[in-house]
Symmetry: C2
Subunit: 104 residues, 2 copies
Amino acid sequence: MIKVSVMYPNGPGVRFDHDYYRDKHMPMLKSRMGESLRFYTVDKGLAGAAPGEPAPYVGMCHLFCDSVEAFQAGFGPHAQEIMADIPNYTDQSPVIQISEVVKG
Amino acid sequence: MIKVSVMYPNGPGVRFDHDYYRDKHMPMLKSRMGESLRFYTVDKGLAGAAPGEPAPYVGMCHLFCDSVEAFQAGFGPHAQEIMADIPNYTDQSPVIQISEVVKG
């Protein structure tokens, strides 16, 4: 299994609509990717490591797929529509990582 | 539920022993934190978003706890021992984030 982590950098004045992300964007992405997206998780940044330090990322999602090929097959045909929705919830560009799930 | 994400930056020449991390460090952390750590996941960085781009993080773990207080109560007394093990698997210092699990 692989995990695609989509991480939105935090910072002063960053705009991120967590409700829209959870209730609109992520369900839309799931509906477009269908079974190629096995499941997904959503995080809301609370804090960094030191007291008073902000979270490095304001929000994240993690997409779990059988393989990189399965992700590409499911995401690719809908990439334009999914990416075009980003300005509806944030002014940030995500940091993206593909990982092997060593322990799920 | 909260998630503590521990993310080790990638880069040229970075040292990271994924076997030690999975088989020694993480089980040691779990044994020290006990039930305050509900469960954890481990990722190995494979790639970035663009073809040929490296993963932003060479390895990550995510620690799931009932609350920030539960994490602090379980981790705090063993922090020194756990942190002292880091050089045994990497030369990197982790980026750490505490998140609310919006969708688990």
